[in-house]
Subunit: 344 residues, 2 copies
């Protein structure tokens, strides 16, 4: 049995500039609940407390949105995402008071240790604690399993492989799920959160399920950062056709996607050149603007800069290396004449 | 090595009402050729000779479009699709004279025998003859292999599994490729043509490649009937990330998708409720209008009618059974009182 988690009201926030209102959240959440989705994630795109100049100002508080969702659901659990360093524990505590019963605590895939306090608190205070390993394509499956075991040791009952850059294909997704499935306790479940930059949102989620993942994320109409997520109503149908039960009723799920979410979208969730380039390079979407500026300065292709950042495995906080990467590419394509130190 | 075939200028014709002009075809074909795509399929959406009241009038003749494409390519082969019963052999002969060197002859998956004359002619007259088994999800892998062997016996050097309804998932796609791979001569290649109704366009093509398919179709921006095809520029990137070489240069391919094809599209190629319903039911998109009318007449859900058509495995030519399916659904949901023959 696969548990489906909807992220339209959290990851989807990225594609509507964090503008969903409590009324809109209630409409979507009620539809998801009627269809039998297990959990509904609600907050700013970067988790509770994410509203800021740096990450984008939200139109409404996380608390108002979580309360709106919690007030309309009958069966579904409400989930709150927390990125330690962006949000604080007090925001998670507020989320719980307003009706969130699932805590998803997210870190970069090599930094599980910064989630110890937050996962621990959630597990000790009656929330389902879920660990979220972002940019999971960047490290090998065995290393990822080590990080997952850390989260498990803090109290996580589910650990997610998060393909933040949409850089995985079914083979790499399945390898990571198997590594976690082998490395974790039998009672700890494995989840998968896809992005669609390489067109594999649904395909990766199916491969994850085949490999033993039992929690899968998606969003209605694929609403999400970049190329978007696995399209939830499509994933539900594809899982059924692949022999995986979800407990979700497909027609009501299609209806909330088409009758509610489609009209709230600012643009269709397609795979354009930018989204594809980011997924192919396997880098953070927040690097894009930096890469474009550095490329212009040094007269090189923006995509070539993204590829170089992917090769160097640059992560958030290392934005200063983007200039260096562009300068290097320019030097490689226009080498100074051999034996000369003069102008070329 | 995977050979990529672009179908933007044939299957993509469905989503632009068969309106591409020779100038537009030349622009797209030149871009595909620069990127190193192996073959470019050009014609009305239903193949050469498809322009008609029944299948949709094309703005320009197949011959003018094929000639336009052939005049600009340096490396790529030009492919013409022929559906026996819609187009005739004379159209294929004309296509060859104008520069098409690949003949793709398509039949319903149980009717390979009607392709004998056309595949045979193409193979004998210096064209690469490819067999195209449409709606391949409708029969079991072993049965499909029998049909593929027929096409091979007529002279096809490649036989395609065509997921016309977008009803397959990676598992069912791979099963069919393996059945053909096992059933055909080693020298005969297997191809896969995806549709994206279940979000598996790229995922199915990757699964097909892993299972031994060496010819894969796609289209730029996913342009195609219904939910569209595997998005070619995305598929090329995903194949590379999956360890399959294609010989295609990715950046030029992305550029023709974004700089040329995107501006020619009338709507983005998304998976809406209708496309998903058709893929989930596994029925021809041409049944949609009939199903909607029958559903209205009998007061049942159009989607329920589509599902019933899928269960009954109705194929083209059996449209009269759509009314019967809707009537049956209505009777099942409002049964007459037991023991009474009076009005209810």
């Amino acid at each position: 049995m696969i548990r489906l988690v909807d992220s339209s009201l959290r990851d989807g926030m990225h594609s509507v500039r964090h503008s969903f209102s409590p009324e809109q959240v209630a409409l979507v959440a009620a539809g998801l609940d009627r269809a039998g989705v297990d959990a509904i994630e609600v907050s700013h795109g970067d988790g509770v407390g994410g509203s800021s100049i740096q990450y984008g100002k939200a139109a409404f508080s996380d608390e108002a949105l979580i309360e709106a969702a919690a007030s309309v659901v009958q069966r579904a659990q409400i989930a709150a995402l927390l990125l330690p360093g962006i949000g604080t524990l007090t925001r998670l505590q507020a989320a719980q008071r307003l009706g969130a019963s699932v805590a998803r605590v997210a870190t970069h895939c090599t930094e599980a240790d910064i989630a110890e306090q937050h996962i621990g608190w959630a597990a000790e205070h009656g929330m389902r604690a879920i660990g979220f390993l972002m940019m999971s394509h960047m490290i090998e499956p065995a290393e990822l399993a080590v990080q997952a075991r850390l989260m498990e040791s803090y109290g996580a009952s589910v650990v997610y492989i998060v393909d933040s850059a949409g850089a995985m294909v079914p083979r790499t997704a399945a390898e990571r799920v198997r590594a976690l499935r082998d490395g974790l306790d039998g009672a700890t479940e494995v989840g998968f959160h896809a992005h669609n930059n390489l067109g594999c949102g649904v395909g990766n989620a199916l491969a994850a399920a085949d490999a033993g993942a039992t929690w899968l994320d998606g969003s209605l109409r694929g609403l999400g950062a970049g190329a978007g997520n696995a399209q939830l109503e499509v994933l539900a149908a594809a899982l059924e056709r692949s022999g995986h039960a979800t407990g979700v009723e497909l027609f009501p799920l299609m209806d909330v996607a088409e009758d509610v979410v489609a009209s709230l979208m600012e643009r269709p969730q397609i795979i354009d050149r930018t989204a594809l380039s980011l997924g192919y390079a396997g880098v953070y979407s927040s690097f894009l603007l930096h890469a474009e500026r550095a490329a212009a300065k040094f007269g090189v292709e923006p995509r070539a800069v993204l590829m170089e950042l992917g090769r160097r495995r640059i992560v958030g906080g290392q934005e200063d290396m983007i200039i260096d990467a562009a300068a290097q590419l320019a030097a490689d394509s226009h080498p100074a004449p051999t034996g000369s130190s003069g102008s070329a």
